[in-house]
């Protein structure tokens, strides 16, 4: 197999891993002000993702680095083209990341509530922006013959992309609610379950609209890349099942289903894209592909060896941390790590 295909798949895997993992910690962040009614509850909610969120975020950094290394033109066109959304994403990630570390370091109520709202706002904004960005990726954006993005900021705020942003927010929030119902106890557990149940139907409905509009907004039907077949439908089915499991208090299965829904969504995204990495809405010939955007075979070889050696080790130790911190968080101040 050609190495640029390998790297396309690996980058897809990195993004899928990022969204499945960071998706739930975004969701937990969004739910923080709604479920945490006092300081102990909010600390308990944050502690469900405390040991994990930073490691989850590295999947995005690695996806960015891998894109730079394997497809420099993709990295250059995407990052300079989606300039303002990416800038806002950086702001959201910076403030949110600092907030997790800083919020408990002072007990002034204003200090804490400020950081808690930043966690909420940062998680919400990041989910929305990433949803908008990826919807634009599959829809196609104005790229000229020199691989330069020539649309403005508002070009990215089309209805389809905005809908994608809303879907991302809803799905991650549901994913986060179910994660919370796996990791909390007592009152918080009840509230998390309730939140998941309430979110479920609206999420299914909006994402169904999004899946249907994908058939109109993108070239999924005419494009001769890889046909994702029934995978987009799997997204909806998995979301439906997640609610069914959640109602029966099978949280593990429910979580597996939201994870599957997110994975299926991004598998579809990358299948629609392939072999393109950025679709030009101006002229199909101006799209960036895994061939015209890629690094040299030598660089790809070097990077493949590195990835083959390191990725399994990373999966092992990151997986291990989820096992170490598998115990439910007790909603009591004396048992919480601050």
């Amino acid at each position: 197999m050609e190495l640029n295909i390998v790297w396309f798949v690996l980058i897809a895997v990195l993004y899928i891993g990022f969204f499945v993992l960071e998706g739930f910690d975004f969701g937990v962040g969004i739910l923080l002000p709604f479920l945490g009614k006092n300081d102990t509850e909010r600390r308990a909610i944050i502690n469900t993702i405390g040991p994990f969120w930073d490691g989850n975020e590295v999947w995005l950094l690695t996806a960015g680095g891998a894109t730079f290394a394997a497809f420099p033109h993709w990295y250059a066109t995407l990052f300079s083209g989606f300039y303002l959304p990416l800038f806002l994403l950086l702001m959201a990630l910076i403030l949110r990341g600092v907030a997790f570390e800083f919020r408990s370091k002072d007990d002034h109520p204003l200090w804490r509530s400020t950081w808690d709202w930043i966690i909420f706002g940062g998680s919400l904004a990041a989910s929305l922006l990433l949803g908008v960005a990826f919807s634009n990726l599959v829809k196609g954006v104005p790229i000229d013959a020199n691989m330069q993005y020539v649309g403005g900021f508002f070009n990215l705020l089309n209805p389809y992309a905005l809908l994608g942003g809303v879907v991302a927010v809803l799905v991650f929030t549901l994913h986060g609610a179910i994660f919370l119902s796996l990791r909390t106890s007592g009152d918080l557990l009840d509230k998390a379950r309730q939140a998941a149940n309430r979110l479920w139907l609206p999420t299914v409905a909006v994402s169904l609209v999004f899946v249907v509009s994908t058939y109109f907004a993108t070239d999924i039907l005419t494009h001769l890349g890889v046909n994702p077949g029934p995978i987009p439908v799997l997204t909806t089915v998995a979301l439906l099942l997640s609610g069914w499991f959640a109602r029966r208090k099978h949280e593990g299965w429910a979580f597996a289903m939201t994870a599957l829904a997110i994975a299926a969504t991004f598998i579809s995204v990358f299948m629609i894209l392939y072999p393109r990495v950025m679709i030009s809405s101006l002229n199909p010939a101006w799209s960036l592909t895994i061939d015209n955007a890629s690094s040299s075979p030598y660089t790809l070889q070097v990077m493949t060896i590195v990835a083959v050696l390191l990725v399994p080790v990373i999966l092992l130790y990151q997986g291990w941390t989820y096992w170490v911190f598998r115990k439910r968080i007790e909603n009591k101040p004396e048992g919480l790590t601050y």
């Binding site: 405390g50 490691g55 590295v58 950094l61 680095g65 730079f68 910076i94 040299s296 790590t337």
Partner: protein, 466 residues
């Protein structure tokens, strides 16, 4: 202002800011790991409390380093897309390797370390902080491999259609420049951490708080600092000699040496005229620059005017002279601060060995103030390294003019620049506030919950951890 200037300003601000936090992470991770190792080995509660106290400060600083690092990785694509296209085949690789090899390791195991005090055995827990320390320093290695390519490109081939491709990966990672730059950065990190620990310990020793713990902290830091600051200075000397060979213009501007000279004199203080490229007033010590450059009292050091002519002949017309005022003064600030650090670190060791710490209140105050010195030196060092490379993004290969994103307008750059300045400005206040608060609160206070308990005079710390 034109986009190029704004993009450079943004890079300077975000990079300098990021590097406020990085050196402390590099060194303090190792110091905290050493403390916890002592705890595991001896079982002494004092070492455990030491670990938690310094670990708390470490975590606050680490968070800032991590989040500001994301900007660094994205910025190449956002503001310097043509650079990314031109050198992506080479430059992307170390960045991706840095993420795979180091970012995962440090982020995952810091989470394990902070939240794992009760969940893990002592041995596993101390392993977690050692992995964080290792990963932070490995991260520095890979980003410096990338930076070394910009200082001294190796292992590449220039394509006829533009752009460079990687030809020799081992050559890239064994870039001669990395042998100077990596130890210099790591030693600077250790020295920064040593002075951070000495300065805060001195604050408490002066007030006779927890003298046992802060004496041990000071002792450990003084030992590390004395070794690393001396190595740092020696390495800096070698690095400057390497610079004379590979980037003579950087040295010429750092010395305000307008004309080639043999033997060359060392400028102690120069006020120069940048337009006319001449001294307005200068005090120079004969032969010393040759001595520094070659370890002998003669030897030709090239001057700015000759290098400009040489580069014009080689690379075509253009301005090849960095804004000398920045390399010149940052070089002096860095070296001056460096000598002060060496002196202070050795004196600290003398105080420790003579068991004189408690009897010297004035030096103790001095050490608290000296926390700022490494920061001054670190920032100056990077400004010298990066500004002194002007006009090149990659020396001899890509100029800054050809590196900037063509489709990013001045307006967009203004928006992001102002955004960074505001957010970074607010965050530095929050960070310094927290660091100062926990540093002053002393060993007992590992969280606001314990602070409150202390106020209410509940002596037990049971059940509150982290």
């Amino acid at each position: 202002m034109e986009p190029l200037i704004l993009a450079r300003l943004q890079f300077a601000i975000t990079t300098v800011y990021h590097f406020f936090f990085v050196p402390l992470t590099l060194g303090l991770s190792v110091l905290v790991a050493l403390m916890e190792t002592l705890y595991v080995r001896t079982g002494s509660e004092a070492y455990k409390r030491m670990t938690k106290f310094w670990g708390k400060l470490f975590a606050i600083n680490f968070a800032m380093g991590v989040v500001t690092g994301i900007v660094q990785e994205f910025q190449f694509g956002m503001n310097w897309s043509e650079y990314s296209r031109f050198v992506g085949d080479i430059f992307g690789a170390p960045l991706a390797i840095e993420a795979l090899l180091a970012f995962f390791l440090e982020s995952v195991f810091l989470g394990v370390w902070i939240f794992g005090w009760d969940r893990l055995s002592k041995g596993l827990h101390v392993t977690a902080i050692w992995l964080v320390a290792l990963a932070s320093n490995v991260s520095a290695l890979w980003i410096l491999i990338a930076n070394s390519f910009m200082q001294q490109p190796v292992g590449y081939e220039l394509l006829p259609e533009g752009g460079v491709v990687m030809k020799d990966f081992p050559a890239l990672i064994f870039n001669p420049n990395i042998w100077y730059q990596f130890p210099h950065t790591v030693m600077a990190g250790f020295t920064t951490a040593a002075f951070f620990v000495m300065g805060i310990s001195a604050y408490h020793l002066r007030r006779k708080n927890e003298t046992e713990i802060f004496q041990r902290s000071f002792q450990l830091a003084a030992t590390v600092g004395a070794i690393t600051s001396v190595l740092l200075a020696m390495n800096g000397h070698s690095q400057a000699q390497h610079m004379v060979q590979t980037q003579p213009m950087k040295m010429a501007t750092a010395e305000a040496l307008w004309e080639t000279a043999d033997p060359a004199s060392f400028s102690l203080f120069t006020i120069g005229d940048m337009q006319e490229r001449r001294d307005v007033w200068s005090f120079r010590i004969p032969r010393v620059l040759s001595l520094l450059a070659y370890n002998q009292i003669s030897g030709e050091v090239k001057g700015i005017n000759d290098l400009q002519a040489e580069y014009e002949a080689k690379y075509g017309p253009g301005d090849y002279v960095p804004p000398a005022i920045i390399p010149y003064w940052t070089f002096r600030i860095m070296v001056g601060a460096g000598f002060a650090l060496v002196a202070l670190a050795i004196y600290a060791l003398f105080l420790v060995m003579g068991e004189l710490l408690q009897q010297r209140p004035i030096p103790l105050k001095l050490y608290t103030l000296a926390i700022a010195l490494p920061y001054l030196a670190n920032t100056s060092g990077w400004l010298l390294t990066e500004v002194g490379r002007f006009p090149w993004a990659v020396f001899g290969l890509v100029k800054l003019d050809d590196a900037v994103s063509p489709n990013v307008s001045a307006g967009m750059l203004w928006v992001s620049l102002i955004g960074y300045v505001i957010v970074y400005g607010v965050l530095i206040f929050a960070t310094v506030y927290l660091l100062a608060k926990y540093a002053k609160a002393g060993v007992g206070a590992v969280s606001p919950e314990t602070l409150r308990e202390e106020k209410e005079q509940v002596p037990s710390l049971a059940g509150v951890n982290g």
